[in-house]
């Protein structure tokens, strides 16, 4: 479906000099520095999946999306979307993909949303039944009609995002690429987007590729994660599996024992060596334990035995912590290789 093979993208950033003379000089000089934004990335994304494309900051996520959408050409390697190299057949590829680029609007800035949609319908040659069906769907889910005749530039961010997402799905694309859509702002919108994606996925088998910093957005939209670090896939699978790979877990509890909060922490740390216990707001105790040494069964059994528990829950591991841990391990491994050599 989507294949990247040893994908490399280097940018030549011209050494810009200030002032008019300087900018004229950049026209004629060849001085620039090379920045490698994507460094030998390989992966495959199966058809019909909803994948969060995750990488460390500056891992070239947006640049990779730009290559997959045909906006830029790789410096080396290749990528294919549905069998074609997007940058070689940009317009052909554009017909079968939908794109949202976060803060940057894809819509006609001076036109109303309905007018923008009418133009998109012509540009993508959307058949009448498809267009009508999708408009009806957006009317129900995104309340597009409420945007009325206001020009896109005057819409609020939430309203605009609604229109952007609808526009990216209007022509029933086989793949949608959402690069940092700022849907995290609005719970209602998030729910609507999830519904929309599920619908497209169910009815048309649409493949979704999302990059986001917002873990909640990722969790809401995606079922699988593709984690890339230094060009290598370090995790590909469900988001649950990714979270399960966390090496530290946590339990929070309230108790009715007549002891000081600090004393409760001391009891936990003495009874389970290697565990960190801290008091959080309201006297609640936060227990943080390494998943490699303790099972959750053992931790919970200990707590049940020693405390008169009033409340107890185990939060999901923080995705960012998990990622930090993955990148950290790889960095350590890399350092060991250097030492061994």
């Amino acid at each position: 479906m989507i294949v990247a093979h040893e994908l490399v993208k280097e940018f030549k950033i011209p050494e810009r000099r200030p002032g008019l003379a300087g900018s004229l000089a950049t026209l004629f000089t060849r001085r620039h520095r090379v920045v490698r934004a994507v460094d030998g990335v390989s992966f495959e994304i199966p058809a019909g999946s909803r994948t969060a494309y995750i990488g460390a900051n500056g891992a070239g996520k947006s640049t990779t999306i730009k290559m997959l959408t045909g906006i830029t050409t790789p410096t080396a390697g290749y990528c294919r979307v549905r069998g074609i190299e997007p940058y070689r057949h940009r317009q052909r590829n554009a017909r079968s993909i939908g794109v949202v680029f976060g803060q940057r609007s894809q819509l006609w800035w001076d036109l109303s949303v309905p007018d923008s949609f009418r133009i998109l319908r012509r540009i993508y040659d959307i058949p009448d039944p498809v267009y009508r069906r999708n408009l009806a769907l957006y009317r129900d889910l995104l309340d597009i009609d409420a945007l009325g005749t206001t020009p896109v530039r005057q819409l609020s961010l939430g309203q605009r995002m609604r229109a952007e997402i609808a526009a990216s799905l209007l022509h029933d694309p086989a793949v949608v690429f959402w690069d940092e859509p700022t849907i995290g702002l609005d719970m209602v919108l998030k729910e609507a987007v999830r519904e929309l994606v599920n619908h497209a996925h169910r009815e048309l088998g649409t493949t979704v590729v999302l990059t986001s910093h917002d873990i909640a957005d990722i969790a809401a939209i995606c079922d699988s994660a593709l984690v890339v670090d230094r060009g290598r896939v370090v995790h590909q699978g469900s988001i649950q599996d990714l979270l399960r790979s966390a090496d530290r877990r946590a339990v929070l509890f309230d108790h009715r024992d007549p002891i000081a909060p600090d004393a409760a922490c001391a009891i936990v740390e003495q009874g389970l060596p290697g565990v960190r216990a801290t008091v959080v707001d309201g006297g609640r105790v936060h227990v943080d334990y390494p998943a490699t040494e303790f099972t959750s069964r053992r931790v919970l059994a200990f707590l049940l035995e020693r405390f008169d528990l009033a409340d107890c829950y185990a939060p999901e591991p923080d995705l960012e912590d998990v990622l930090r841990q993955i990148y950290g391990q790889r960095r350590d491994a890399a350092l060991r290789e250097v030492d061994a050599a």
């Binding site: 959408t69 052909r92 001076d110 036109l111």
Partner: protein, 268 residues
Amino acid sequence: MSAWSTAARYARLSWFLGGVGLHRLTAYRLDFLLGAGAFLVRVGVQTAVVGLVFRQVPVVGGWSYHEVVFLLGFSLLPRGLDHLFTDQLWELSRKLVQRGEFYRHLVRPVSPLFSLLSERFLHPDGFGELIVGAALVGWSGSHLDLDLTATQWALAPLFVLCGALIHSAVKLLFASLSFWTVTSLPAMYAANQVSEFTSYPLDIYHPTLRALLTWVLPFAFTSYVPCTYLLTGDTGLVVWLPVVTAGAVALALAVWRRGLTIHDTTGS
């Protein structure tokens, strides 16, 4: 897709976008009227200045009052026609590359240039220029007892079209410089200021300026050259018009294409 069906598709899209543009015109009637009114005042002042000039002397640089008004009006026609379709190039020059907004034109299944221009089809100010220009040409033409030959009648619309293409080409070239310099507004503005010289007969200018306007930034071919031919039948320079137009358009498109590849390698 064959060349013909591609051309037909773009023609259909343009027709449709024209409809959207006209629709918007009615939606923003007041803005349109204010813009058109302001334009009318501007051209009115320009015409008044010409009138006051000719209160002092009967002939300026070999041109009579009505001839100069004819030239002034005619110069608005290609400018207005160009204005209708390519106003969005100012946005490219001003900020699209700088703010990284250009690549929305690279994800649509149409040519990036068409996508860019589609954002503002049928700019209302263009209509103002065309209407005022046509009125001035008609008024001065009737005072001059202008009797055009059949050939001149047939060529006149082509002159306007070629003039508009020259305006568009110069704009495209200077707007494309922004792919290298991030913003090229000063350069584009400068070129636009130079085009203002064409509202008056070139004969009054310094020969260097005249040469610049004829062969470097060929704005002379948008009004002075065709007007000389229409008013006097002198074919001296007008035969160069198709060549200059084709050359300007080809050069601008080449710079634009080169700019796209630069955009690809710099990432902006």
